[in-house]
Symmetry: C2
Subunit: 261 residues, 2 copies
């Protein structure tokens, strides 16, 4: 039996904290036909609130060092402010939307990262995703909007990378549905040179990617996203697309963005 399509769309970059870009993204999200899940971050707004509260912020390898005060800020901003704003907007656009975190129904099992040399604090790594739970909500015709907060077995909240959450949900759900995973942001797609939109690559496969890494002909900041993308494909995800958040349907139709295959 052919599996039903599910679009898992991560929105990030500079979209979330720019009201105009966010509204344009959400309008484009509304027009995506079929079952869909939106995963969001919101790092810039969290950083701003932390500054206002005089909580020093430190990033290492793209991860936020998360002490208990920073965790509180992340939980308030991601699960509270941003999640509910997005959900309310989508509802007002006639898309019946439910906001979630990995904590809800404990649907993401996670543990506190244990790095050999750096203490990241309350940062989570994903162990498992409860696909039956997600399926039961999707079956109720709900669109899901997921904020990147998880918990461990003891009930400790954990700040978790939103790209990873999107990827782990995509991998887990690929058993049950035909998954297209989209990383949408403010760039056209994968760029060889981050400052040159003309260096855009419309399609990339694993051997090309390995070669580009070796020859350093790809922007370093794209590498973790692409590593994730190829891992997702290897684990059963049908398609991964990286591209501009302002026109999702064009991305899904293959008219723009970088397709990973």
């Amino acid at each position: 039996m052919k599996k039903e399509p599910l679009y898992i769309i991560k929105v990030g970059g500079n979209i979330i904290d720019d009201e105009e870009k966010l509204n344009s993204f959400l309008t484009s999200f509304v027009h995506v036909k079929g079952k869909k899940i939106l995963v969001h971050g919101g790092g810039k707004i969290a950083t701003k609130l932390a500054e206002e509260l005089n909580i020093p912020q430190q990033m290492v390898d793209g991860r936020r060092i998360t002490n208990s005060e920073t965790l509180k800020v992340a939980t308030m901003v991601y699960a509270g402010y941003i999640n509910k704003q997005i959900v309310a907007t989508l509802n007002s656009l006639q898309v019946r939307t439910l906001g979630l975190t990995g904590v809800d129904a404990g649907f993401i099992k996670a543990h506190k990262i244990n790095h050999p040399s750096i203490d990241f604090g309350f940062v989570g790594e994903v162990d498992a995703v409860d696909t039956n739970f997600l399926l039961s909500l999707i079956t109720l015709d709900l669109t899901l909007v997921i904020a990147p907060i998880t918990q461990d077995e003891s009930g400790q909240l954990l700040n978790t990378n939103a790209d990873t959450i999107a990827q782990e949900i995509a991998k887990a759900m690929s058993e049950k549905m035909e998954i297209t995973l989209v990383y949408s942001f403010e760039k056209k797609g994968v760029l060889k040179d981050i400052d040159d939109e003309e260096s855009f690559i419309p399609m990339i496969n694993l051997s090309c990617f390995e070669k580009m890494k070796e020859e350093h002909t790809i922007f370093a900041g794209m590498i973790p996203k692409l590593d994730n993308a190829f891992e997702a494909i290897g684990a059963g995800v049908n398609k991964v697309i990286i591209g501009d958040a302002s026109n999702l349907q064009e991305l899904l139709d293959g008219k723009s963005g970088t397709v990973i295959c």
Copy 2:
């Protein structure tokens, strides 16, 4: 056919912002047998965060004057920090729990309060509760924890009184389930004199309440709660109990608290 029981428990007062009292309450909540919904506020924590951010707070008639900055604080604190903390703790105690606001799936329809003389700002009044949505989640064996944020049709978030949300859910759900509505806080129950726990009233009916209001022999702060309670009973709620949050099972067994009948 006999309706299935549903306990709708509002926790408030000084419980939420006191870690020890909150944990004791949650342990007691875990032991309540059957289907249950928890509704929480969190006003003191919101006030503290607003102070840290230099956002002046003003209360009128027990309602928080809510400008856009205060709304952001309320959404972050209620829907983010407090809701996810409670959900994570209950999950760790083996109660599969989902956090919600009235915004999620748009299950509470609300509008901005329109007061003839006071501008309350972004404060919501409840128009309707989608009982089918709640029932579909309860059927999945999820315990629900609800934060008091709603939205209007345009997608505007609204800060909404948690007592009212508990009451409106209780009234709406009474068509489908046998509802016990519990207002739990740090007092033994309804008191004639707020400073004297000995002035506790174990049972109160409408005619007694009307007489006490006339004779001013009841603490004024209890009156809105009791007005709500009698309205709920009038609308089909089976039982309303007001009492100490530290032992819910005693309240439900009629061994403590004030029963409204």
